[in-house]
């Protein structure tokens, strides 16, 4: 049967979809680049690290570039998904699992055992892989590399090289090209270079990736971070004010106008990696109803966790009276409760109809958070909130959500759960943006009348696991919290049924029973009932 999965590990596959000689050469170049890093990891002493680092990163990029040019520029423009479900690596085959294990191992080492990468402990000189990156780090900021610098560099290279590949793959589609250019720009500039330059200008400032917004950037309101900003005069103050504005003013305005895509698939680094290096795995996300149910519980639980954790953190280092700082614990907790109540009341008042059954869960969630905050307030001491240390809550979040969920599972499991499992199941920022996108945004994916043929290309390529076809075949627009607006469903649709657009809020959600094209009287009769 043709829906076979090729689990063969043989390089001489029985399929006709073999790669060309040029692509084999490209793969070899790329693997030599990786091999240099493997040698570094094994503490090989290179005579000139700068040269070998350049060689390594250069060869990896060159490999990807040659491979992609051969894959896409030799063919006419169009959708290039041939064989995606035949290739072992992109169809839950053996190679996919091998890659999953390699990536997962890398993340575990990166987060928990950086010494294996060669990170020098307590100011000792770096060795191994981290040492290989010292020349670049010194060039940019004058300090030796850390495991995070190594990771940041590789991450950026991945987004740039695979971003190039993606642009070639969709060279007939300007939305995809511009969007990919955007994630490449934000990764290289905002996540990688600017923080290094900021360090050169003022090395007391905490690391701050300007595009990383709380609650994704869960550490921005940590005591060390806030102190770091506040002790650095106007620049520091401006940065933390920007951080607060990002969350409460800038983000809601942009999401209202463009949907959460402005962030998730145009700016965000996690999204950037998913859309470029992760593109080959987008079809692996589960479209089952059960996965959607799990998603809603999980992502909102993480959101509640992140809100409570952050409030507890801030609460811990605030004082009881105004002598220390104008913001006291009592005032802070009142502000938080006031804000949450405002959001909750607003939604219930304006949108209760659209929420229906879910409103009940929303209400339960809301009141649990308020209850938690109040319990916290009345049981909290300087050291303990919720009877446990606030710092313990913070480390638990950092460990389980920040490291294991977003890193190890989120990226390590690309070949298993698809390229957006963190964005879909875990990211608290995505939860907030999605909540707003569903209720207060002009963005939707418009379904083109009755043209859908239920083929399933849209659902298959949805990295967020949305069953797009479910809506399209009913002639209904797609207005889902999780949609990151990558636009691939629209690109792969063979009948031109889907269009991402920002339009008025009226008629944005348009459930229909009888589709356009049938008897006008019947449509009136059934759809208006």
């Amino acid at each position: 049967m043709s829906n076979k999965i090729n689990n063969s590990m043989s390089l001489a596959k029985p399929d006709a979809l073999d790669i060309s000689t040029k692509q084999k050469v490209a793969l070899a170049i790329g693997f030599i680049g990786l091999f240099i890093m493997a040698l570094a990891l094994l503490n090989t002493n290179f005579p000139n690290e700068g040269l070998f680092l350049t060689l390594s990163l250069g060869m990896i990029s060159l490999g990807v570039i040659i491979y992609s040019r051969e894959a896409y520029l030799t063919k006419l423009e169009g959708i290039k998904n041939d064989g995606v479900w035949f290739k072992s690596i992109s169809s839950h085959g053996a190679w996919g699992y091998v890659l999953g294990v390699v990536l997962t191992t890398f993340y575990i080492v990166l987060y928990f055992f950086p010494q294996y990468l060669g990170l020098g402990k307590d100011g000792a000189e770096n060795t191994g892989l981290v040492h290989l990156f010292d020349p670049l780090s010194k060039l940019l900021s004058g300090r030796p590399a850390s495991q995070w610098f190594v990771y940041g560099t590789l991450y950026t290279i991945a987004i740039l090289a695979f971003g190039y590949k993606f642009i070639l793959k969709y060279r007939h589609n300007r939305y995809q090209q511009i969007r990919t250019g955007s994630v490449m720009f934000f990764q290289l500039g905002f996540a990688f270079l600017i923080p290094e330059f900021m360090y050169v200008m003022n090395n007391d400032l905490p690391y701050y990736d300007l595009k990383s917004v709380w609650p994704l950037n869960y550490y921005i309101f940590d005591e060390w971070s806030v102190n770091g900003f506040l002790s650095n005069g106007n620049i520091g103050l401006a940065l933390i004010v920007f951080g607060i504005l990002s969350t409460f003013i800038i983000t809601p305005i942009l999401t209202y106008k463009y949907g959460k895509r402005w962030y998730c698939s145009w700016v965000c680094g996690c999204g950037g990696l998913a859309e470029t290096a992760g593109d080959s795995f987008r079809q692996l996300s589960s479209k089952k109803m059960s996965a959607w149910k799990l998603e809603r519980w999980l992502i909102h639980t993480v959101l509640v966790f992140s809100v409570v954790m952050t409030v507890a953190m801030v609460y811990t280092y605030l004082g009881y009276d105004k002598n220390d700082f104008w913001l006291t614990r009592g005032l802070f907790i009142s502000l938080v409760i006031g804000f949450l109540t405002l959001v909750f009341a607003g939604v219930m008042f304006f949108k209760s109809k659209e929420l229906g059954k879910d409103a009940k869960y929303g209400a339960i969630g809301f009141f649990s958070v308020i209850a938690l905050l109040l319990i916290m307030h009345f049981t909290g001491t300087t050291e303990h909130v919720f009877f446990i240390k606030g710092s313990a809550l913070r480390s638990a979040y950092g460990l389980y959500i920040g490291s294991i969920f977003s890193g190890v599972i989120g990226t390590g499991f690309y070949p298993i759960l698809g390229n957006r499992s963190w964005c879909r199941f875990g990211c608290p920022m995505a939860a907030i943006l999605g909540f707003q996108q569903r209720l207060f945004s002009k963005f939707r994916i418009t379904t083109n009348g009755g043209q859908c043929i239920s083929c399933g290309n849209c659902s298959n390529s949805c990295e967020m696991g949305i069953d797009v076809r479910h809506y399209a075949q009913k002639g209904e627009n797609i207005v889902r919290s999780s949609c990151v607006g990558c636009g691939i469903c629209s690109a792969v649709c063979p009948r031109g049924v889907l269009k991402l657009e920002n339009d008025s809020m009226d008629g944005r959600i348009n459930p229909t029973e009888i589709l356009l094209g049938n008897d006008v009287d019947l449509m009136d009769l059934v759809n208006k009932k």
Binding site: M1, S2, N3, I5, P14, D15, A16, L17, L76, G78, N81, D82, G83, V84, W85, F86, K87, H172, N173, R174, Y175, Q283, K288, M289, T446, N448, G449, G450, Q451, I453, S454, C455, G456, N457, S459, N460, R469, H470, G487, S490, A491, P494, R495, G496, K499, L500, E501, E513, I514, L515, L516, G517, N518, D519, V520, D521, L522, M523, L525, V526
Partner: protein, 435 residues
Amino acid sequence: MEEHIVIIGNGISGVTAARHIRKLSDKRITIVSAETEYFFSRTALMYIYMGHMKFEHTQPYENWFWEKNRIELKKGYVNNIDTTAKTLHFAEGDALNYDKLIIATGSKPNKFGWPGQDLEGVMGMYHKQDLENLEKHAPNNDVCKRAVIVGGGLIGIELAEMLNSRNIPVTFLVREDSFWNGVLPSGESQMINRHIKNHHIDLRLATNLKEIKADENGKVKSIIIEETGEEIECNVVGLTAGVTPNINFLKDSTIEVGRGVKVNPYLETNIKDIYAIGDCAEQHEGINGRRSIEAVWYTGRMMGETLAQTICGNKIQYNPGHWFNSAKFLDIEYQTYGWVYSERSCPDYEKHFHWKHEDDTKCITVAYHKTTKAFLGINTFGIRMRHETFDTWLTEKRDVDYVINHLPEANFDPEFYSHYEADILSTYNKQLQIA
């Protein structure tokens, strides 16, 4: 006991009918199919062979959907229908009683009596079994050195694209002197000819199949071309010269059949409580100028939506709105709204405005009435258009000037795409001056 509705065929027509009957009533519903256990999208078969999707991705509903909605599924092949006892008899030997019967058995590929048309390696591309057959005979270009496709329609070009995706050389025999020009105006048809050739497909226009030759094992070895007598060696022959209603099993029944199952505008057959919808239904006379048999996804769905009303007590006629359709020719998407006829079947009053982009992958043809200037329809290639906008304009009986001047409102291309409406308008104005 609730009335028992039995539907033969689990394609889009039958399934749509079942879903809507369930929404409107508590009747017992059974869907019978010999092809597959669950409903899948036939139009997506090509993507399975191309590796874009797996078979389960072509199933629009998860498997629990049927039980949850109390739609019983029965796998079996109906041998004959006893219309007096209201009983279906299956090839497997069992039987099933019905109170009302809906025949929605779809189509089967045409075969025109070519010598060798039943050899191993000769196939249509319609049923899931056809796909399995293709996978067997054309898994790669070692096993299948060349394939020949006979019949230049929508399925033919999809089959060509499928084989092309596995680097299997394709010879494409088209009876007409330009691809699908019984339907498409010549400017469009010729653009598609060039696009097919750009994909390195060996397109043979005005070429007919004479016979298919077998090797010593009874498998396809080659084909002979009628006009030239040329012999082309191949391992697979795809027969894609249109489809015909799949109603052989009704031959001995009392149900009236022509090419399809004869139905009135209420989709009723000559026998009480038996209905037919979708590809296999044949109207006594085409409705609103349509063909009497419409083998299109959307019409099947609309008949299903309509018949569900009738079965649930709100008797209404099948009265579809403005015609629309779409397809994809390799990399070029095609949509049509209203009626645009090819030169071969164009009525006297119909005139065309044609615009083509210089990159040879985008064009539109607008049909209008010679004297009244009324807008009749549009074909669009490589530019997506909004169904709702054209449906409204057709209802409002806009004229061609209005449509050309308001084209930007109908654009449905993704954001940031180049727009061609200004160019189209200026071409239109220039042509008016010449004329």
